[in-house]
Amino acid sequence: MRYRTFTPALLALLLSSACLAAPESSGFDAGARQPKPSGHAAHQARGAKTLMLENAEGASIRLWKPDLTSAPLAAEHGHITLRPTGLGNYHAIVVEQDWGTAKDVLIRYEYMNGKPSGRSPAELTAAVKTEFEIVPDPLPREHARYIAGRPAAFLVRHRGHPAGGVPVTLTTANGTTLQATTDARGRVRFELPDDFAEVKPGRPNNRPAEMQVRSDFQAEGRAYTTILSAQYHVNPRHWQSFGGGVFIALLGMVAGGLTGRRLLKGNGKAEK
């Protein structure tokens, strides 16, 4: 007989990258155990990814591919290895721990390189992968990412139907907790907290951090706890200036106007 050994607090650590709090020295990126990339990792990561998975003894783990086929995954020594499936685009990892009267679920979407699947990630998010599910609405577009300070929306579904009025909590590894309730369409929207303690200029110089979107739900005599985990990144506005951009564009306009006048004088062919 198995017992529900982990508390929700421990559950939050189930599937996460090795660099949960984004330490500079961890040497891991994109939720995967890979050397620190020199550029934007999403384009280059063509090999396997390794994800940490704790307290999941006896859990069912499935990998959903972009073509909506799924296959079981095994955890070894607290890690899941995502080997290239040959298909490019988002994959979903669904970890389910069924306790009979309760069910804990952890979901994570990971981009994997490969041949274009010809299938939209909208199909993967629309597919019912577990009874009580939190779905990004939408996922960050391919090669894009969640960014601190920008909005992110999620759908909460029970058996594929929107779950309205359900409380949802967003927790970041940087220590922020936000709470909201789903609307009638089961949708909830957060502005991702801009809570990175130390920000360095330049995107490659800042490590992402983990965030978890969690919801608890009761239906048909069962208690569901579902967590969607993902990474979010530092907002480039910390080293980019919109005002500076506008000022330079205005300088360009002045130069453009002067060039137009010069061309007009030089040409001697003008129209009114």
Partner: protein
């Protein structure tokens, strides 16, 4: 013919529809990259615009040069295999390109439409505009588009992949492209108009991009299509223009030597449309197949737009007369003229 019924007006309507579709089309085609029409569109439909309908072909070219070809050379893996995605992208681009040829510039491109709208605004404001650039200026500008294609789209991204230049130059062209700033601003996203002080490369590139964007806006008020003349997409189109089904065809007559209205009408200042007397296919490298030269050719059947050899629009004396009259009315109708007329009316009444 009223001022509202001619090829130029029809083209503006097509451009407007294309602008709306390409910039906001994700509501139709879908949000994700996998939903986009081709991923290798022959016009500047920017991937940085998260509501767009398709991606410009230049973005995959740059990334494939850096991440596939460059890396294959560095890692010593198969160069041929690394070229497969480049060939696939080129093939996709060509499948679309043959349908409209360089008309993707003149009829579809969002940035081209934006510049034409600005020029129209300059005309309506009564600004004195440059009718045509000097031959010297045109000749100086012509090689720039080839340099932009070779250096910004293929060269720097490849060198970046090889590790010779900064990784920030993978998207060397995209980071300068005015369409990136225009289309993102058009959907209310201000994240692409910025000064980036993270490192010297990003600083130089961001300053150049912002400056160029402002420069193009102001210059478009008085000069026709300033950015199109140096656009690498125009060069890519020029390289494959012989494959396109739509062509500009000329049947020169001796009258052509004395005329030259076609060259004056051309927004890209292609004087060869006038001077070329032997070639039939006059779809020159800078041509955007806008059809303006055909509209303003006063002679029957001298210039025509042909699709797969079939004429779709041919010059005629009758059309020319009506079009010229319509143009004159259009040119006279400016805010300045309207203001003068308004001020003069009470004075005339008093007199």
């Amino acid at each position: 013919m009223s001022a509202t019924v001619n090829v130029s007006v029809a083209r503006k309507l097509v451009q407007l529809a294309a602008f709306v579709f390409l910039v906001y089309g994700s509501v139709v085609v879908g949000f994700y990259t996998a939903d986009k029409i081709s991923g290798a569109f022959p016009a500047l439909s920017c991937a940085y615009d998260f509501q767009n309908a398709d991606y410009c072909v230049l973005i995959p070219f740059q990334h494939q040069m850096a991440h596939r070809v460059g890396h294959a050379v560095v890692e010593g893996s198969s160069l041929l295999m690394s070229l497969v995605p480049v060939i696939t992208t080129l093939g996709t681009f060509l499948l679309l390109f043959v349908l409209l040829n360089k008309a993707f510039c003149g009829w579809i491109c969002p940035l081209g439409f934006f510049q034409e709208m600005l020029h129209m605004l300059g005309q309506k404001l009564g600004l004195q505009r440059v009718e045509s650039l000097s031959t010297r200026t045109v000749d100086r500008l012509r090689p720039v588009k080839w340099a932009a294609l070779a250096i910004l789209v293929f060269g720097l991204p490849l060198l970046s992949g090889l590790g010779f230049v900064s990784h920030d130059l993978v998207g060397a062209y995209c980071n300068l492209c005015p369409s990136r700033i225009l289309t993102t601003l058009a959907v209310g996203d201000t994240t692409q108009l910025y000064y980036d002080g993270a490192n010297p490369v990003l600083m130089v590139w961001s300053v150049t991009a912002d400056f160029l964007f402002g420069f193009i806006i102001a210059l478009s008020l008085t000069v026709r299509l300033p950015f199109c003349r140096v656009c690498p997409m125009l060069a890519l189109h020029a390289a494959f223009r012989k494959l396109g089904l739509l062509r500009l065809v000329k049947a020169a007559t001796p009258r052509c030597e004395k005329c030259g209205i076609c060259a004056k009408a051309c927004p890209m200042d292609i004087r060869e449309i006038h001077t070329e007397m032997r070639k039939k296919d006059v779809t020159f490298a800078d041509c955007t197949l806008c059809g303006r030269c055909v509209e303003f050719c006063p002679d029957q059947g001298v210039l025509s737009l042909k699709y797969a050899g079939f004429p779709v629009f041919t010059s005629s004396a009758e059309y020319f007369k009506r079009r010229r009259k319509a143009q004159k009315e259009w040119e006279q109708s400016t805010l300045r003229a309207w203001w003068r007329k308004r001020r003069a009316a009470p004075a005339a009444k008093e007199a």
